[in-house]
Symmetry: C2
Subunit: 335 residues, 2 copies
């Protein structure tokens, strides 16, 4: 198995991405990694790093001289930059020289590039972005996180089927419970989209739990939560923003007294464990579901741990044939 890794994407810089790649190779023997980026530059980078023969043998470079930045418009960028890391990556998948692409770069462009090069899976009308989130119990997979801002009820049903197949394979869950994000638990609560999606989900073969509210997201009572990409993206970013603001406020309160500063020294270890428990880096990356291949987008602020975990998720998806499971579930649904 070969995972193509965008060495130039994201805000973290190629050094951390390569560090993540080496760490993934050291921990896993069943795949190889192809670094995507300007080959001279990447060769120079690798020359400065120590690595054992086994890792060196499984690390390759594919020349991709262009990079799509975070602020470029996805469709335009994909059309103009045919030699960008992302486009070259999905070209490798198309040519069967790689099995998956991982990128911490522009997620819209990664999705556009995947659709352009690989197309959609049979039966899928709208591919989307799914991701695992920490909860008080097991992680929950939320879909869509921003690829589809205006959805029809049928799209939400498909997100539910795709995310359900994916989490069932990668976390070995039998019949994952699916929740529909709304503003009240009762079936009649929500906007028009959600009310109609509720009917489709109730009539489906999925293990449909019913509506869940925003406050249930982090409770872990369901395995999958579906919503349109606008609501999903806002929820994700509100959560990130709240966590950041809360840490900042807490820090400023602690810095007001010596007593609290001493207390912080004693409590720091518990704090770090807590942070690790909720850190997106631990959850790796967000699979693009519904494309005819495997693609993972990582957070733009990914560190090497996040990159490593994204690579591991990509390998897990390929190994467990998530796409075959999605195609089958979609077929069963329409029978």
């Amino acid at each position: 198995m070969r995972i193509a890794l965008d060495a130039m994407g994201g805000d973290c810089g190629p050094e951390l991405i390569i560090e993540g790649a080496l760490s993934a190779l050291r921990g896993n023997k069943d795949f190889e990694i192809i670094l995507l980026g300007p080959s001279d530059f990447l060769s120079q980078q690798l020359a400065t790093l120590g690595m054992n023969d086994d890792v060196a043998r499984r690390l390759h470079i594919e020349h991709a001289p262009e990079t799509i930045t975070m602020h470029e418009t996805p469709v335009d960028a994909v059309r103009r930059k045919k030699n960008s890391t992302i486009m070259v990556g999905f070209e490798l998948v198309k040519a069967e020289r790689a099995d998956a692409v991982v990128s911490a770069g522009n997620s819209g462009a990664t999705m556009a590039s995947a659709i352009k090069k690989l197309g959609r899976l049979k039966g899928v009308s709208r591919p989307g972005i799914a991701s695992l989130f920490p909860t008080l119990k097991n992680p929950v997979m939320i879909m869509d996180l921003g690829a589809n801002v205006d959805c029809r009820p049928q799209h939400l049903l498909q997100f539910a089927i795709m995310a359900s197949s994916c989490i069932s394979k990668i976390l070995k869950l039998d019949r994952p419970r699916v929740g529909l994000l709304s503003i009240g638990e009762e079936a009649g609560k929500g906007n028009t989209l959600v009310k109609e999606a509720h009917e489709l989900l109730s009539a489906s073969k999925l293990n449909f739990f019913g509506n869940v509210e925003g406050r249930d997201v982090y409770q872990g009572n369901v395995d999958v939560i579906v919503c349109d990409g606008f609501v999903g993206n806002v929820s994700l970013k509100v959560s990130e923003g709240l966590a950041e603001a809360a840490m900042q406020m807490l820090r400023s309160e602690i810095e007001k007294s010596l007593r609290a500063k001493l207390g912080y020294l004693l409590i720091r270890h518990a704090f770090n464990n807590f942070r690790k428990r909720v850190d997106y880096a631990e959850y790796g990356g967000a699979p693009l579901l519904g494309i005819n291949g495997a693609g993972i987008v990582s957070h733009g602020k990914s560190n090497s741990v996040a990159i490593k975990n994204a690579i591991v998720i990509a390998a897990n998806m390929v190994r467990n044939k998530v796409n075959e499971s999605i195609i089958q579930a979609l077929e069963e649904q329409t029978v």
Copy 2:
């Protein structure tokens, strides 16, 4: 000025609500409070409490034998329970025997009741729920928080005008900055509703800042954020849920070691200050904007501090003639 207070609404029980009323009366000399609920029951409750003559003179009871529970459907409940605390409260406002209603009960029923008894302000197509939220800088007013789940762009423009008028009056802000909640800062980002609302807001007389993302909500770079009620409600509840889950996870990490428990004792004061800073109770209640009168809904889990602050906000709205300011701003907009 007289504020009618639903003594039976919410999950906290009448004792805490009455405590909040007494605290509001002690701290403010320019209004009276009318408690809404079964008169015998309320008289008994008051008889057990010590209060000075000044407070006793400004505390009244209005008999309202019925209560609308949290799980009743607003429109049905309002039709069936004509003698409910909420309906009696808005009847008092209609009869000019009270100036505002505060309730920690069913917020949908409070809105339905306000519209039924008082109607909409001139020029308003959809009244909505607004509320102040803590940020790293000044509080931000978000509207709508759940009254309107399917919106047109024109509604979002009106929410912006109403929230802008309200925050400008109650926090004495000159030309509040208005942000539109979306999934990217650029004007072209968002769903169809948001893209169209962006054009209306850009062309308006408001101090329009542009799109803001979920992660900006708690930064405090704008004074008002507008969104449809579905997105607003999900964002609010995701925030509450994340805060609760995070505290629970942090607590369980702290309890794993004696060292961390000791640290917590030292840090507790800073923690409590932080909690107070982000506690919804400090922000009191959420004004219903666009109704021809004043109504405030409080969180169902309100404590006496939240009730007191909701009463103070209600008085502030009446004193500062927020509704007159809204009517004027709507008229200027359409000129």
